[in-house]
């Protein structure tokens, strides 16, 4: 369909105005008289989403990209795909929607993240003695992917790990995500890091280790302060000592499994 060439100007402008006005009145009409049909449409959409989740349950479980897309879809329409049997939620619309949506989406999505959360907890617990309860998200993902024992590995993304950890928060488990330098870490013990400790750990990220001299020179710290922080970090198993270097070095155990990736 070809439109004859028109000179853009008044006529075009007025055309848009009319259209907008028409839509506005139409919208009002919709709001007033078709509220019930909106509900109907939403209900239809919800059931479609439910169907979708059930049909593609396998894909949701096994494919991280697909899963990410699905989660984005849910968030776009204001649905939290994880709201479910975690009953201890605060007041708010989500609670009412919680059990409703768990029914809607079927068990699969919730089961998936619950299972993943369990694995994350296991990994953190198993490695706590080595890393003091501070472990890189990337390392946790690697370990979960490798799997152990009967369950085997789970195909997951860093995103999934983060979501799983967040879903643990309401349980008061002491699991939190924190950013250290350019890395995302999972803290699995309740004890928080103070500023000095975080600073040192961030400094360690650069080379994998620090010495007392390095701390004093680069951070301008007095010797007692540097020693105190290092002692704290060691006591919490957040740092290992290497006595065979020219000057004693302090290393982060996260370096052991660091493949260099983000």
């Amino acid at each position: 369909m070809s439109t004859p060439h028109r000179i853009p100007g008044l006529s075009a402008f007025s055309r848009t105005q009319i259209t907008a006005a028409q839509y506005a009145s139409h919208g009002r009409t919709l709001q007033e008289t078709h509220a019930s049909s909106l509900q109907t449409q939403l209900a239809v959409f919800q059931s479609l989403l439910h169907q979708f989740a059930v049909t593609h349950a396998k894909d949701i479980r096994s494919n991280p990209t697909f899963r990410a897309e699905f989660a984005r879809m849910c968030n776009a329409i204001g649905v939290d795909p994880l709201a479910s049997s975690h009953t201890a939620r605060g007041a708010g619309g989500k609670e009412a929607g919680g059990s409703f949506w768990s029914q809607m989406l079927g068990g699969s999505v919730n089961d998936f993240y619950f299972e993943l959360a369990v694995r994350v907890v296991e990994v953190c617990r198993d490695t706590r003695a080595e890393n003091g309860g501070l472990v890189a998200v990337a390392e946790v993902r690697q370990r979960v992917q490798k799997g152990r024992g009967v369950g085997g590995g789970m195909e997951v993304s860093d995103d999934d790990i983060l979501r799983a950890v967040k879903s643990l928060e309401p349980l008061g488990s002491g699991f939190t995500i924190l950013n250290l330098g350019h890395k995302q870490m999972i803290r699995s013990v309740p004890k928080e890091l103070n500023t000095d400790q975080s600073t040192v750990l961030e400094a360690i990220q650069v080379l994998g280790h620090v010495t007392l001299s390095m701390l004093r020179i680069n951070l301008n710290w007095e010797r007692p302060r540097a020693i105190a922080v290092i002692d704290d970090l060691m006591a919490d198993s957040l740092v290992w000592v290497d006595k065979q270097a020219d000057e004693t070095e302090y290393w982060s155990p996260t370096f052991i499994h660091d493949t260099g990736g983000q």
Binding site: H209, A235, Q244
Partner: protein, 183 residues
């Protein structure tokens, strides 16, 4: 002693300098000892070694990482073995002889586990009630693919004795040409 031609895949701890310093903090140290235990067992399993001598192994790739310039001292290695031999360490090592603590068994499989493996093989190959020599169990072509091939003769006898105690086998013959029958 047999060894495989493929290189042993060292775990990431092997390239971590502090791994060669015994950590002063207890919880960290425990994790470190466990990691050393796994490494020593895996290394021996790969090379089909059943015993190690600390002195002989001191300059080898197991305890000395040349590229890193770090080594586990003899004193510290002894502590690792002591831990491995303890209940806490799962009794995965045992000193040989009463005198000096240098040679030790590395139980990447304990004698009880070996007894099970051997008995399973005998069963699977339909050789129950057959007379087998101790020599052929560890040296014949028939067992070349088995993990107990090339096993230390003393360990073999120890493992078989477990089966004897359970009435699952009988050893007979003269000392340097022993035979065994499985039931």
């Amino acid at each position: 002693m047999t060894s495989t031609t493929t290189d042993f895949p060292f775990p990431p701890h092997h390239s971590f300098p502090p791994f060669y310093t015994l950590q002063p903090v207890l919880s960290t140290r425990t994790s470190q000892l466990a990691s050393w235990s796994h490494l020593i067992q895996a290394y021996c399993r790969h090379h089909r070694l059943f015993q190690l001598s600390l002195r002989d192994a001191a300059d080898g790739p197991l305890f000395y990482n040349r590229a890193l310039g770090r080594r586990l001292s003899l004193k510290d290695a002894r502590e690792v073995v002591e831990w491995m031999a303890s209940k806490e360490g799962g009794e995965r090592a045992e000193w040989v002889g009463d005198k000096e603590r240098d040679r030790f068994w590395v139980w990447w499989r304990r004698p009880e586990e070996w007894a099970g493996v051997i008995a399973a093989w005998v069963e699977a190959t339909g050789q129950k009630n057959t007379v087998l020599t101790l020599y052929e169990l560890t040296e014949s072509d028939a067992t070349a693919s088995q993990e107990f091939h090339g096993m230390d003769p003393e360990l073999l006898q120890r493992s078989l004795q477990i089966l004897v105690k359970r009435g699952k086998a009988q050893i007979f013959g003269s000392d340097d040409s022993l035979g065994v029958k499985f039931f």
